[in-house]
Symmetry: C2
Subunit: 92 residues, 2 copies
């Protein structure tokens, strides 16, 4: 069966077992990292999607799982796209 995959925002990759979208964001400062995480938290509250997050002072790794172990779909890809925009604005 051919599965049509949602288009993926720049910089994100698909990972398997379990299926997820992954991206590492790097920042010039801790303040930028915090600004990104705060905005990402607001996006999670709006969308109900809570990715796994790993971060330290100047980077954040974001892993967005598909719901119930399924392949990430339109909702997850939209979240990934918007997260990339939040990272860009946190740098600004």
């Amino acid at each position: 069966m051919l599965v049509k995959e949602e288009p993926l925002a720049d910089g994100w990759e698909r990972v398997a077992r379990p299926p997820a979208l992954f991206r590492r964001f790097e920042f010039a400062s801790y303040e930028q990292t915090r600004a990104f995480l705060d905005r990402l938290a607001a996006l999670s509250e709006e969308t109900g999607l809570y990715p796994d997050l790993g971060f330290a002072a100047r980077h954040a790794n974001v892993t967005i799982y598909g719901q119930g172990g399924t392949t990430p779909g339109a909702a997850e890809c939209s979240f990934a796209d918007r997260a990339a925009g939040l990272a860009a604005s946190a740098e600004g």
Copy 2:
């Protein structure tokens, strides 16, 4: 050579390669997780110690490395102890 190790707050464990302190905190809600992370960020800004953090909606994994690859010392153990207090207050 016998190395005297700082006493460690309850719930924390020492890991090796690289030497670090680790603890997983679990919370009943996303709001509690966020409250903990916000307080931990303030503690990082006060102390200048930035642990590695991994979190999702209802847990946070905290890894505190020793400075320059050394065994975590008094500053890191104090941070661990205060972090445990912040987790308890985030649950309150």
